[in-house]
Each structure stands twice: as C-alpha cells, then as structure tokens.
C-alpha cells in the first residue's frame, strides 16, 4: 500500500470538495450574507494552517502513522489516552457521513427507498474497496473520480453563467462585519480541516517529502472550488436566500436552464457528489480500520473491517431525523474541530519538535 504525491492531492481534493460544497454551505456559512465568500477565504486560511501543522507533525516521523507516533511523542499510555477521542471521532464521522449521504439521496433521488438500504449499498462498496486494496485502491479511485468532479463542476458553472448577477455580491463588507464573516467561516473550516487525515496517510507515501506540497495544494484546490461555488450561489440566489436553504448548492443547480433544453442537470451533479462521498467515507473507513488495528496491535488490519462495518452501520442509523444529523455537524464544528483537528495536533507538533531537538542533542 503505497501512494504518490499526485494521488494524495486527488484524495484530499475529492474527499473535501463534494461534502464541503453541499453540506457546509448552508445557513451557518451564509451568516455574512453576500460576504460569505470572504468567510470561505477565512476558512481556507484556517485549514491551510491546520493542514500545515498536520503534515509537519507527520514528517517528524515519516515512517509512522498518527497512531504510532503519538505514542512515541507522548509515551505509551498518555499516547493511547489521547488516541481514544480520535478513534471515536473516526468511527462516528464515518457513520454520520453515510447518514448525511443517505439523507441527501432521500431528498434528491429516492424518497421511497428505506434509508438503511441506501446506506448498506454504499457501505458494501466502501468495504469492498477497503478490503480489496486498502489505501491503494481508494487513491486509484480518487485519481479517476477527482478529474471527473472538476470537469463536471466547470460544466455546471459554465451552464449557469447567464444567471449570474455580479451586483448581488455588492456591497462588500458593509452589510455584515468582521464577526459574522469569521463566524460564517467556521462551519466550512470544520469540513475543510478534515484534511487532518493526512496524518494517517503520509506513512504510506513513497516520497514523504512531497506530502506538504500535495496536501496543501489539495486543500487549496478544494477551497478554491468551494469559493467559486459560494460566489455562484450568491450571484444566483442573492444575499438573503442561501441561508434559508438546507442544500443551497443543490437548489442552485436545479435552477440551471440553458436555452430551455439543458435542464435538470442536478441529477448529474448528485452522481458526482455521491462518488465524492464514496471517496471520503472509504478513506475514513480505511483510517478507522487501520488505526484500530494499530491501536490494539492486531496483526491483520483487514480483520478489523468486519468489526468496524457493523458499528458504522449502526451509528449511521442512530439519528432519528435530519436535524439530529445537523447537530452532529454543529458538535463537530464546536468541539471536535477546535480540539481534535487544531488543538491536539498543534500540541503534539510542539512537543514532538522539542523532543526531536532534545534527542538530537
């Protein structure tokens, strides 16, 4: 299981773009109204920083995964304790991603198919790709899916050009203010910061020194795509409406109509998003399985798949309605994001660098 820098780029891009564009660009992201795009830039800066920390942290021990080196940095027991919230986070977020995906499919495509079937089919694909080749097959999938996502996104943007109204972005800044802009950036930032998962991926790279460029480029490309989508939403829906839609991105795409015969292109987009979500969920699933195996020192990591899959399935069915799923996203933004994705990695990086320096002396 080895991946190249190019593959890492596409892995990060595909897993970040789809989910961020459709889920995080909702009411929380549009607090700043027509300045929401500034919020996205704020989110991008935050995430480039967190990704930078995550990569530098991993490069302290390029041969080891996060599970291994956090124990090397903090010692066996403290390291294990600090890993528990991560294992819990990975398991639960895999389940929630599946559920978010199923909820969206339920709204957009199949309103009479039971949720558990939608989830089970996706889970089947995820288990298959993880079991058959692990990270290698996931990254190969992303290498193919990523460019398709980019092309279709460009297509959607081109098709919608005539509905744009540049005046809707104006006036810049004066209707919102610093606080709403930063507040609006947090929710997309919490999604984009999931690039933290590179801490588990760099150990598999053939050339770890390329990790920094690839992952930062991946985050930047995904953020840029999200930024374009945000501008596109504002220019079509105006400053006030986007905050009221559950999936503004989807609603905007349904609005596309070119020359009265290119219409209903949303179906194409839903498909692209679904395969994007597939990459993300598979990555999380792989990380969870592999991480758990390393955590408990299980020799064959693939055996943990059969334990993780049912747990993930149950978690995905736990929320009783869409609002509870959104509560998880809020919990992710308010607790997991500052603690697990920013705080602890920063701490580990500082301690790890000091330790390395000290050991060298």
């Amino acid at each position: 299981m080895k991946i190249s820098g190019y593959q890492l780029f596409w892995l990060i891009f595909t897993m970040e773009f789809g989910m961020t564009a459709i889920y995080s660009l909702s009411s929380d992201a549009f607090v700043a109204k027509q300045d929401a795009w500034i919020s996205i830039i704020v989110a991008t800066l935050i995430c480039i920083f967190t990704t930078f920390v995550a990569v530098r942290l991993s490069l302290l021990y390029p041969e080891q995964t996060f599970i291994q080196y956090s124990q090397s940095i903090l010692g066996k027991w403290l390291g294990k304790i600090i890993l528990v919230p991560y294992i819990l986070m990975w398991v639960s977020v895999t389940g929630i991603i599946l559920r978010e995906y199923a909820d969206f499919v339920f709204v957009a495509l199949f309103s009479s198919t039971p949720l558990w079937i939608v989830i089970l089919i996706m889970l089947g694909a995820i288990v298959y790709v993880t079991y058959s080749g692990g990270l290698r097959s996931i990254s190969r999938c992303s290498e193919i899916i990523g460019p398709i996502t980019v092309l279709s996104t460009i297509l959607v943007i081109l098709l919608s050009v005539k509905d744009w109204n540049w005046l809707r972005i104006l006036p810049v800044y004066s209707n919102s203010g610093l606080l709403p802009i930063v507040k609006g950036g947090l929710s997309p930032a919490s999604f984009l910061a999931e690039s933290f998962m590179v801490v588990m991926l760099i150990a598999f790279m053939t050339k770890p020194e390329r990790a920094l460029v690839s992952s930062l480029a991946g985050v930047a490309a995904a953020s840029f795509a999200v930024l374009v989508m945000t501008l596109f939403i504002i220019m079509v829906l105006g400053p006030n409406l986007p905050a009221k839609f559950i999936y503004p991105m989807y609603s905007v795409v349904t609005y596309i109509s070119v020359m009265e015969f290119i219409q209903n292109v949303d179906v194409l987009n839903v498909l692209i998003w679904i395969i994007g979500i597939f990459i993300k969920a598979s990555l999380y699933f792989f990380i969870t399985s592999y991480g758990t195996a390393q955590f408990f020192h299980i020799k064959k990591w693939k055996n943990t798949i059969w334990l993780i899959a049912p747990i993930v399935f149950v978690i995905s069915l736990l929320p009783r309605n869409t609002n509870e799923v959104m509560n998880f996203a809020k919990f992710w933004r308010d607790v997991i994001f500052p603690v697990n994705l920013v705080g602890i990695p920063l701490l580990l990086w500082i301690i790890g660098s000091i330790r390395k320096k000290y050991m060298l002396q």
Binding site: S174, L237, P239, N240, S251, Y255, E260
Partner: protein
C-alpha cells in the same frame, strides 16, 4: 486472476439485478403537470387546479391536425392549505403527479389581494418542485379561468404565457425566485407578472400579458402597473431586451415609432445629511425607426436629431411618471433603489434602512433617457408622399 470465474458470475448477477426497473414507475404511471393555479374560494379555502397533458392526444394532434379533442385536461381540488388541496386533486388522478416540468403558476386576483404568504413555502420546500418557475397574477379573474382558456398556437395553453413572456423580451422562469429575493431583502417589495383574459378572435377569449403586479411587505397585492410601465421598470432593472416606443412629434405633426434594443442603465444616488435621497436615472439604448407618420425625411441629420430628442424627452417623462406612480401611489420600492443606495452609500444605508418605506416616497428622481437612433430603416421619407411634401 484466480478470482475470474467468481467475478464474472457476480457481474452477470449485477446485470440481472440492476437493468430492470424494480418499482416500475414508468412514464405511463406519471402525469405531467405543466401549469397550475390557486384561487381563493368564498369560504376562505384554497382552490388549486392543474393542467395535465394527455400524451396520447398530443401525438394525435401532431399527426392529423387538430381533431377537436384537447391534449390536456384540468383537475381541481380545494383545501385549507396547498397540500390538502393537492390531496383532493390526487383523489381524482390515476397517475402520480410529476411537477418537474411545471413552468407557470397562476394566482387569482382575490387570493393575491388577501396575500400569498401561505402559498410560497410549498414551492421551495418540496424537492419535486423547481424554483425556476414563473408565477402570475391574474388580473380581474381567477387562475382556474386562465387554465381553461385555449390558445390556438400552442397545443398546451400553459406554454403560451411562457412564450409570450419570452417573445416580449423578458427572462423566463425567474419571477418566482425574484419574488423570494425581493421579499427577503430589506426595503424591497416583491412583484409578479400579470396576465388577464381579454376577448380575442370571434367568440374565443385569449390570454394577454398585462404588466406587473406590485405586492406590499405582507405579500398582498397592492396594485398593478401596465405593460409599458412594466417595461420601463424592467429597463431600470436591466431585465429587458426589446421595447417599442411611439411618440408624437409636434413639430412634424405626426408620430414616429422606434424599436429600442441594447439597453443600458446608470443609477446615481446621493444622500443628504437630512436623509433626503436623490436618484439620477440614466437610461440608454439603441433605437431603430420602424414607423414614420410624419413628413420628415429622416435621412437628414437634423430631422433624425429632432426625432431622437423628442423621443428621449417624452420617454423620460413617461418613465418619471411610472416612478412617481410607484412612489406615491403604492409606496413600494420595486425599482431596486434600496439596493442601489446600499451599494453606493453602504454606511448611510445602514442608518436609514429601517425607515426606507417613508424615505422612498420622497426620493427626488430625475430621469434622462438617451436612446441613440442608429438606423432609419429602408426608406427616408414615407413612400406615399409626393415630391415636395416631405420636409427636408
């Protein structure tokens, strides 16, 4: 390689499972709703009606002319809210309603006057609906009545309003979203296009695009502006692509008609410390003379200048009349002045936005139309005139 036979079997199994349609909801089980309407019943409930296509008759009429049988039918239902009314409609339908193709929605005047607040939510919440839709107010009539008026050019009469809308140079499908945007913007009042039913060819009635309906902040119909006024409004909002203007030229004792295209607009706002707002509207366009009932020879630059100046002056007056009507009579900002002020003077706007409705009524507006007549058509003076009749 050793997995090959199993994989092959699995693939075949996939084909068997996925190629068919499992719950068989095919075209023959769906009914397409092309236009719908909602009206107010006497007892306060809603009456919704929808125009459905009869696919078999569409084919017939394309093969063998109009056989007398309509390719559509109308089903109605009433209820306390839209969903209940749809439920009543469904009781009469053998197929599942598909709304992805609905383009027009008519609202009866009575309902519009009472307010359409309760109507709007269903359209954007239900994923089966499209937000690209045109909503219409039916002046002096009910929406159901409009659905029942046949239209000779189109097989499905509902398509007619859509095409009229497009033919006169307006964007189609945007009115519903624009309504929502205007009602969610501070200071703006929403509008909808208007149709009415007029006597047409012999005993037939026909649909006519009347103009624009102005709503107040409570989504209640405040009044109408007519077709030309609506076009001026669209000019100010840059949503227009074609307009005819005819003006009487007193110096020449006749009228000249021009067709205007290539519209442009410049809005300049200013605000005094006492919150007095001034708005300078500069409308531009390219004109082409298409009717000349004067004795002017338009090949002469002097005459063309005369026509151009008169048309610009008169049109400016008409636009100003429309703006004043909207300001004084309806007191509803449907001209985007609030957004202009917000863009050009954001700091001042933040202070006055709460009292915009009163400020809007007292805005000092100046209108300056600058249509540039670029072509006079194929003839100079009218051809029927004798030599010497035409003024050089």
């Amino acid at each position: 390689m050793k997995h090959r036979p199993t994989a092959f079997l699995f693939l075949i199994l996939c084909i068997a499972l996925t190629t068919g349609c499992w719950d068989r909801e095919e075209l023959t089980d769906r009914v397409f709703d092309l236009a719908a309407s909602t009206d107010l019943n006497k007892d306060g409930t809603y009456l919704t009606a929808a125009q459905f296509i009869i696919p078999s008759r569409i084919e017939q009429s394309s093969k063998g002319g109009i056989g007398g049988e309509k390719p559509y039918f109308i089903v109605t239902g009433s209820g306390k809210n839209i969903l209940e009314a749809i439920q009543k409609t469904r009781q009469k339908l053998s197929r599942i309603i598909t709304r992805g193709h609905r383009r027009n929605y008519y609202i009866g005047e009575d309902l519009a006057k009472q307010g359409i607040k309760d109507l709007l939510d269903e359209f954007s919440r239900d994923p089966g609906n499209r937000i690209r839709m045109d909503m219409w107010v039916v002046k002096g009539n009910t929406g159901l009545e409009v659905l029942q008026v046949p239209y000779p050019l189109e097989k499905i009469p509902a398509v007619a309003t859509l095409k009229i809308h497009k033919a006169i140079g307006a964007a189609s499908g945007t009115t519903f979203l624009e309504f929502l945007m205007a009602s969610s913007t501070e200071g703006s009042c929403p509008t909808l296009p208007v149709v009415d039913i007029v006597p047409g060819d012999s005993s037939q009635r026909t649909i006519r695009l009347y103009g624009r309906a102005i709503f107040n902040h409570d989504y209640q119909l405040a009044g109408y502006i007519n077709f030309v006024e609506g076009a001026y409004r669209a000019w100010i909002l840059k949503e227009i692509s074609y307009l005819e203007a005819e003006e009487y030229i007193p110096e020449a004792g006749g009228s000249v008609g021009v067709v205007i295209t290539n519209f442009g607009i410049k809005l300049k706002s200013s605000i005094s410390p006492e919150n007095k707002v001034k708005m300078e509207i500069e409308l531009s366009g390219v004109g082409r003379v298409s009717e000349n009932n004067t004795n002017l020879d338009l090949r002469m630059l002097k005459n063309l200048k005369l026509v151009q100046n008169t048309i610009n002056k008169k049109t400016s007056e008409h636009v100003l009349e429309m703006v004043t009507k909207v300001q004084k009579q309806y007191g509803a900002d449907v001209l985007g002045f609030n957004e202009t002020l917000n863009r050009q003077h954001p700091r001042e706007w933040n202070k006055i936005k709460g009292q915009w409705d009163t400020i809007f009524k007292d805005i000092k507006v100046t209108v300056n139309v600058k249509v540039n007549l670029k072509s006079v058509g194929l003839v100079g003076p009218p051809l029927q005139f004798k030599e010497g009749d035409s003024k050089k």
